[in-house]
Symmetry: C2
Subunit: 483 residues, 2 copies
Amino acid sequence: MTPDLIARFADITGPAHALVTPQDIAPYLVESRGLYHGSSPLVLRPGSVEEVSAILALASETGTAVVPQGGNTGHVGGAAPREGQSDVVLSLARLNRIREVDPVGNVIVADAGAVLAEIQRAAEAADRLFPLSLGSEGSCQIGGNLSTNAGGTAVLAYGGVRQLCLGLEVVLPTGEIWNGLRRLRKDNTGYDLRDLFIGAEGTLGVITGAVLRLFPRPLGHEVALAGLKSPADALKLFERAAERCGMALTGFELMPRLGVDFTMRHIPGVRDPLAGRHDWYALVDVSTSDSAEAARRMIEVLLSEGIETGLIEDAVIAESETQRQALWHMRESMSPAQKPEGGSIKHDVSVPVASIPAFMAEADAAVLAAIPGARICAFGHMGDGNIHYNVSQPVGADTAAFVARRREINALVHGLVRKYEGSISAEHGIGQMKRDELAEVRAGIEIELMRRVKRAFDPAGIMNPGKVLAQDRSTPGSGRYRS
Amino acid sequence: MTPDLIARFADITGPAHALVTPQDIAPYLVESRGLYHGSSPLVLRPGSVEEVSAILALASETGTAVVPQGGNTGHVGGAAPREGQSDVVLSLARLNRIREVDPVGNVIVADAGAVLAEIQRAAEAADRLFPLSLGSEGSCQIGGNLSTNAGGTAVLAYGGVRQLCLGLEVVLPTGEIWNGLRRLRKDNTGYDLRDLFIGAEGTLGVITGAVLRLFPRPLGHEVALAGLKSPADALKLFERAAERCGMALTGFELMPRLGVDFTMRHIPGVRDPLAGRHDWYALVDVSTSDSAEAARRMIEVLLSEGIETGLIEDAVIAESETQRQALWHMRESMSPAQKPEGGSIKHDVSVPVASIPAFMAEADAAVLAAIPGARICAFGHMGDGNIHYNVSQPVGADTAAFVARRREINALVHGLVRKYEGSISAEHGIGQMKRDELAEVRAGIEIELMRRVKRAFDPAGIMNPGKVLAQDRSTPGSGRYRS
């Protein structure tokens, strides 16, 4: 990239918002899990949609690859620039306004760079709920949530971010702005462009703003933890909870004892909420709109029935907001608590919920046959079929040698995911990590349709190249996608 | 179309399922509202997905236009063949199996030609709810519901069919079959092809099967009718209901006195449920999962508060399933009851829910200024912003002369829809009726993106040409879309 071109880009944002020194650029090159180390000559931090538009127009004119980046909390290399290339990073961080909160229409309009927790707070200030919630909510941005179709912990009741979004504003690769900021619950006017940009991981355009749905704040909210014998019993409890609570069942999370041990060992303040040890735990979250008593009654009936029938070994209901947060904190700490235990090989998969016990049993057997002593810490959003099937290294094993077997273990686990007609990426997306595997697990016609969409929206191939779909190898450097 | 080509198509389905006589073909050419009268030399009724595939492969090879048709209950000419062309009608009616009901995974898998009411019944037989419900449910097919992104009466609590669909099977214009029959709640693996086919009105491919979500059957279900002074009061009641009932608020429908009079006059068995006359009516539908009492308590509190504060003039709660159905029957009869009153000019629009009273007041004034004595019968799904803004002719007016002013009245109403940032097609789609208007109301870049999608999926332009998007006039008869 020539100094002249860098100067032309910097002119758009002003030099203060065009980072060029290695030290300024460094934080934008590496993901939190440290798996991707890209390179970039330039990080742009535009302050308006018009600046984003001007950046993409210039990128189109000059064939410059652009990587949109939100809070940089991803896990699959989707927002990291490629290694050995001159990708320009386009950070949305300065586009962080809440544009409007409308408690009557039950919508909030936000810039793409607004941090998720800020949106939650703005909703709360208007006595409304924005239900998207995930571990990184303190730093992830809504544009990234939308671009990766984030799921999180309340999908059972409210759906993922795809279901929470009514309209989008998108800057196209040419710099043209598509104003799709609609706030309608029903709108059948042509092809659904909105849902094409959601989950596209910045490869079709740059989301700059969104209209999101708000909900009444629930009057009743109860969180309980149940000790269980097995994932099969957890499934039975989930089925009962779904019948008993219906749409009031907001979360149903599964945790293994090993994960609870990890959190107590490494995460300050985590204590075991139950007196005895149990092999498995279910966190049940119920919220009701009509009365606080309804939630309480639901959770009490569910737990007491479970205990009477022997399904539940022991259980506790959180008695205060502090206790509710503590139970969720334990669940949210499952992943960070694995880090001090050495190397880990992680999988973000989903299968039909009824297949979870069988899938996990087969996966456990296969992983332990390959690596005796591997410590399997499979936990997650059981209610929506999404398991974070994570494997920690055996105690005392060589970390590098363990992690080097990532592809082998991925192949075992993902092979079983395919057997159960599941997904190799339930909520983290494809990015660089699963790009080649996606092409293997999906039918040729499906990949071909995706390629056609990519070419239709980004014929010059400047938008986040090398993510989701492979670039055209036959014309290296052109950025164009094969036809 | 040559006899030889007709014979080749007929070979695929067998002659019994290839209709060629005018009398056999006639029912497939006309919509129920009678606005579109197309022509066709051939109606094919394939009995398998493979036959659909073979038909489209031959159509691609020979450049034959194909019009997919479900229950033929549409209103915008989307499933009717064009006038003066040789479109082949592809009826999905024989692909009508329920493939699987899975009450544990809470999904149902159905052929595209399965009638909506059959799917509802199959769900009920497994003690589950499939919540999609609309007036034509006894004859519309799920493939048509998906292709038009049907909404209906339970969108508030469950979303429209887009939210109810987990996976699709689609035959592409080339005859290739995309098996996207996934049953996952979370799956972030590349571009969202599913939502592109949903709502595409058969212009990108033929939906042949779908995985749909099931829900627990609610334990509590209450339906009430409230007499009100105005749409503004209806909005206040809706806001209160949304706060009080949250996700338990399943339906909130608005009806004018005129519509109630029409139903009592023309629909057998409809009686006025309230003693006095009221200018406006709200039908409130609440369903709860935890207990029957919860729904009863909610609706009683809502109505008694409304009456105490003077918001509601009078109200009744249905006391039996028969009464609940009677209230809904009155609402569903609004449209058919207009027919005997002479000509009508109809609009299926949505605006942000808080703008409904202002929109309706302005629209009423504009319509009455244009046609004094016009009888405005605006009713619909107020809770999701969707109003069927229908106008019946003045008493004794000339029907043909009234209907001839359709474009003028459409322009008035849709102009106000645009002012309020609404949609000119909330749930019926674009078809032929609103195709040219769509190109006017949407930004050029949005129409251009839709054209690119169309070309990417159907480069030969054989799929339902002339619907949603205009054909390329520069190469008449080629079926190709301009670039």
